[in-house]
């Protein structure tokens, strides 16, 4: 076998890593806009799905344009509030939603809370709020749409990064999400009670409960915790809206 001097080895390594570094940074920079757009499109699609729109996005010829158009058409208003229900005028709701991971690490009182308002042809409004939390293996998140009474859930979508396939991962399936529709998050006294995810089957007559996933208890409980954690911050704002 040919022997190589130490100098050769050093020079070889230097050249190799330089080529690789240049190549990778070039590709990463080139593809970054596309990748960021994918993330934004996904979030827009999730917001739309929570109000029952864009269900047929997979069949759309140009998915990105389709989602952007639908989003612009149905999401008529968006804003950011703080814990006390004050409007944060200078904040953009969509940007805050993209930074939700960082937001939920702050204490509830210091977070910014984005709100998206859906309305079709000037019809009744729906209020969509993003929620995010920790599942069993990684982050879980979702979008909860409330009817105009700011109490009844009109739709909810959830997703996850890597919950157990077939168990916790089922939070993104219809059979888990559909029961949320029609549940209410405030009790008769007007206190925030959120929606309880009940192991072993919810009481069908209870309007604050849904079924947990058998075998996915930790994910189910984490999801319940996530809704409480993220929606508590909206209570002040919702009460203010309801009183006006």
């Amino acid at each position: 076998m040919r022997s190589f001097s130490n100098t050769y080895i050093f020079v070889f390594s230097l050249i190799m890593v330089t080529i690789v570094a240049v190549l990778l940074s070039f590709v990463a920079t080139q593809l970054k806009p596309l990748q960021e757009m994918n993330v934004q499109i996904e979030k827009k699609q999730d917001v739309l799905r929570s109000v029952g729109k864009a269900e047929d996005a997979a069949e759309a010829e140009d998915k990105n344009t389709y989602i952007n158009e639908e989003f612009a058409k149905y999401i008529t208003e968006s804003y950011v509030v703080d814990f006390d229900g004050n409007m944060l005028e200078e904040e953009d709701a969509f940007n805050v939603m993209l930074e939700l991971t960082a937001e939920i690490r702050k204490p509830r009182e210091d977070r910014r809370y984005p709100v998206f308002i859906y309305s079709e042809n000037g019809g009744p409004k729906k209020y969509v709020v993003p929620v995010r939390g920790k599942g069993l293996w990684g982050p879980i998140w979702g979008y909860v749409a409330l009817k105009e009474d700011l109490n009844t859930i009109s739709g909810a979508v959830f997703d996850h990064k890597g919950e157990t396939p077939g168990l916790g991962s089922d939070i993104n399936t219809d059979w888990f999400q559909e029961p949320f529709t029609g549940k209410t998050i405030f009790n008769e006294a007007g206190e925030f009670v959120s929606v309880e995810v009940v192991k072993g089957g919810a009481d069908p007559s209870n309007i604050h409960q849904v079924d947990a996933i058998a075998g996915g208890t930790i994910t189910s409980k984490a999801l319940e915790e996530m809704i409480i954690d993220c929606m508590t911050g909206y209570v002040a704002h919702f009460k203010e809206l309801a009183n006006n």
């Binding site: 190589f4 050769y8 990778l24 590709v27 593809l31 990064k161």
Partner: protein, 214 residues
């Protein structure tokens, strides 16, 4: 070394392509790359994408290493191999994130884990470092295809019995469910992937006695 020019698809070269599909299959015979074979085979679609990704990474890395084989100092050859594989994997990952976002989400860490797939490094070390680019390309293609073939086979059975679907299309008719048929939840979990791989190995060895070790 013979200076005579060998035809591109000589029997010897074709063997490089076909052997890894059968008698020297990386998964069932060499038992390499099992980790990802267990993890991503819940559904067909991610398995197919991962198989294709491995084909690309493997074929290109094999050729790259083969082209460099006379320049690579043996003392740092493992590091050089790792750098080549890692570069390719990052490229594939970035491209998937940009053009096949949904699938890249499903595959999550497993694209990155191609770097540690023993098959790739094994082929670079055992074959590409000592052979010309063309045979190295075929060898890479063959081994990746052998790996991908098993991946897709396992995913086929797991998705069929675990979810009743193939490529997310319902194939087990509703009538079966009405008659009391239930999807096998075990199929979705990694242990059953191991059992399915085991059954494939069993079937293969019972048909080819020469593969059975003492």
């Amino acid at each position: 070394m013979s200076t005579e020019k060998e035809p591109l698809f000589s029997p010897k070269n074709l063997k490089l392509l076909s052997e890894p599909l059968g008698q020297s299959n990386p998964i069932t015979v060499q038992v390499l790359g099992i980790c990802s074979a267990l993890a991503v085979t819940v559904k067909l679609k991610p398995s197919i994408v991962l198989a294709l990704s491995v084909v690309v990474v493997m074929a290109v890395s094999n050729v790259a290493i083969s082209l460099m084989r006379k320049m690579v100092p043996p003392r740092i050859r493992i590091i050089v191999q790792l750098v080549v594989i890692a570069t390719m994997v990052i490229l594939v990952d970035q491209v998937l994130k940009a053009y096949a976002y949904d699938v890249s989400k499903q595959l999550s860490v497993f694209v990155g884990l191609i770097i540690t797939n023993c098959i790739i490094m094994g082929r670079l070390e055992a074959f590409a470092l000592g052979n010309k680019p063309w045979p190295a390309f075929l060898d890479g293609l063959g081994n990746a295809a052998g790996y991908g073939f098993i991946l897709i086979l396992v995913a086929f059975f797991r998705e069929l019995f675990g979810s009743g679907t193939l490529l997310d299309i319902q194939v087990i008719p509703q009538a079966f469910y009405d008659a009391g048929y239930v999807n096998n939840g075990m199929m979705i979990l990694p242990p059953m992937a191991l059992v399915v791989v085991g059954i494939i190995i069993w079937v293969q060895r019972s048909r080819r006695k020469d593969l059975i070790e003492d």
